[in-house]
Amino acid sequence: MRELSVIEAVREALGDEMARDERVILLGEDIGKLGGVFRATEGLFDRFGAERVVDMPMAETVIAGVTVGLAMRGMRPVAEIQFADFIHASMDHLVGEAAKIRWRTGGDWSCPMVLRTAYGGGFRGGPYHSQSVEAFYAHAPGLKVVAPSTPADAKGLLLAAIRDPDPVLVLEHKRTYRAIRGSVPEGDYVVPIGKASIAREGRDATVLAYGMMLHESLAAAETLAAEGIDVEVVDLRTLLPLDRETILASLAKTRRLCVVHEDTVTMGLGAELCALAAEADVLDVPPVRVAMPDIPGIPVDDNLEDAVLPNRATIRDALVHLVARERTRAGVAARAYDPGIPQASSLIEVALSPEHTRVALDALVSAARAVPRCNATFAWTGIVEHEDVVVDLDLGPASPAAGRGTITLVDYGPDGSDLAIPFVRPGQTAAVRIGAVRNGRAYVACAVDHRAVDGADAGRFLAAFKSAAEQKRATPSLDRRATIPMSP
């Protein structure tokens, strides 16, 4: 397949669609004979004429306004705002009008328009030729906002945008225009709006990125692969509506989130993406955002611009920090105990031999099967009863989080104290503690998460444990970690 740059892919999409659909016209500043300041429309003026490739006055409000009117009238206008920095003069028409027209008329009118603009820094453009504006417009229900990163997506998303029955804002990162080349299918195809793609598969952390930051994130991921950290990079492609399904599927796999964008951090897209992950409860550690600091513009000075824009090195550092978070003692301790879990406890005396680990495990499984509600986990959405008993002998503070067990067995052996009440860990429902065996007998204590299990069930659970343990049936084989079905 031939390779094109992003700007060549944009140009091809515009030309192909103008040839295919005569309702498509282009409007913008300097897009005619000059071919646009980035040459997105180069050659199109000669090919389609001044009637369909229209040089507009330097007036972004009316560029957007007549584009709305042309779209309502049944044309398929594609307007270019030369730099995203100038787009806010169009905002009233984009947010106040185009985004609302279908909704405010109950579908009587629609506004099938496209507005393309070049955004992003990294080429010494200063505060008014470098900004990222996506957060303003991705906050406008009724708009669709796409941000392609690759030449193939630049063509496919632009074609999808022009054919979409509703207004689409296409954000093209100006540094990708020539820096990024890639395979582009010949002929007609669309990349569906609202679908992210997995740009790189990985298991240790997920990066959500778009535009030039997608490429910086991929470079960071390559560096980290050599260091043994396997990062998944999701190319969002569409910023509104978000592809929640793809994002959450990736996060469910990696459980760690890093959002990267050039836009400033506060109230940026990263805030929404972190909220999405938090609400879905798919993260094991707090997320990180790599973004522009909250400064009003991007400075033109080489050193200053390089200092504020995220890049592969700052993304790499953030990812190392993110992946290391779970490995730190403090992070694990913070997850291993939750004083907010209300605990109830029961106590029973059991006849046990001094060597009783296999017997106790067998009894635990029997008891869980007899009282399934003790093998359940409390969640705010409801109590989840488990289909398996997960036995994990990797004891220690990290065992519940790593082992996914629902019941912790604590047994300090013959030298332990007679009696202690164990503590239920987050994510678990019960903890069972066997005291020291004296004269063939030991106290067994059980604590439960009182939100999931009531005291009577905890008592029944211990009674079942005692009954099974005193039959001295041993688990035949014992792995360090085993999953045993609830039904025998």
Binding site: A59, G69, G96, D108, P141
Partner: protein, 292 residues
């Protein structure tokens, strides 16, 4: 409608008393269902001429979900009808100017010979939107007619605090397009001016600005109290010479006028009673026609 809104039976009324001849004049100059309109929010008279049913007006007034204009989602006077070629209207005035220009541009590209009327107030005319729109329409000689309802008030702010000239017609020359100054309370003069402008637009002669002077006899909307900023007695004194209904009445037989009044009052009362009885929206429907 004014009385019903003040009685709390509807949310919002926009009086058009004093403005009726402008809308009637330009609407009569258009071909219904062919030509396009981006109306001023006081252009109820134009919409009735173009074919909007009184019951639909009242559904809009009572903000019912069956209102074909705004489906219970926008307050009264935010008109719109694809069937009648009335572009959906919005709150921020007068954003519909550039929409009307875009619509006229579509007419030119499609070559269907249709004309667009774009109407707005003299307050709205002070916004850059209008300048940019008239400039683009003039550059491309688009088939449209700009109609400014010049009543001298922008809600509570008087003319001299909004613009420094007495009239707005001179602005046309600034764009290189014809300007017509007209007494917008004289329905025959308004019709003549609009007909000339529409004929020019349809013939490829480009846009025209019609500066139609009129009187706003009522407060700005049902939420306004104009006694705080102007002398109502002075305004009422203009009824005899500046009320287009009074002036139009002089053109016809008195018995005919009385009969029309009686018939229309009955139609309005029936439409209001019927529309008020229509159901309010289903809360679940608020997500319809939304995405993301």
């Amino acid at each position: 409608m004014w009385r019903l809104a003040r009685a709390g039976r509807a949310h919002f009324a926009v009086p058009c008393s004093g403005h009726e001849a402008i809308g009637v004049g330009y609407a009569l100059a258009l071909e219904p269902g062919v030509d396009w309109v981006s109306p001023h929010y006081r252009d109820l008279a134009a919409l009735l001429v173009l074919g909007m049913e009184p019951r639909d007006v009242m559904l809009c007034f009572f903000s019912r979900p069956s209102d074909p204009n705004a489906r219970g989602r926008q307050p009264y006077a935010h008109f719109g009808s694809r069937r009648l070629h009335v572009l959906s209207q919005q709150g921020p005035q007068p954003n519909h100017c550039s929409h009307g220009v875009g619509c006229a541009w579509g007419s030119k590209l499609l070559g269907d010979g249709s004309v667009s009327v774009i109407a707005f107030g003299d307050g709205g005319a002070q916004k850059g939107e209008v300048h940019e729109s008239m400039n683009v329409a003039a550059i491309h000689q688009l088939p449209c007619v700009f109609v400014v309802h010049r009543n001298g008030w922008t809600q509570s702010v008087k003319r001299s605090d909004q613009y420094a000239t007495e009239t707005l017609v001179a602005r046309a020359a600034g764009y290189g397009i014809p300007g017509i100054s007209v007494d917008g309370t004289d329905v025959e003069a308004m019709y003549a001016a609009a007909s000339e402008a529409v004929r020019r637009a349809r013939g490829g002669g480009g846009p025209t600005l019609i500066d139609a002077q009129c009187v706003r006899f009522m407060p700005n909307t049902s939420n306004d109290d104009d006694s705080r900023y102007r002398d109502r007695a002075e305004v009422d004194a203009l009824r005899a010479t500046g009320d287009p209904l009074v002036r139009a009445r002089a053109l016809v037989d008195g018995a005919f006028a009385a009969r029309v009044d009686t018939e229309n009052e009955a139609i309005a009362a029936e439409a209001a009673e019927w529309a008020e009885a229509q159901p309010l929206g289903d809360p679940a429907s608020v997500l319809e026609h939304a995405y993301a």
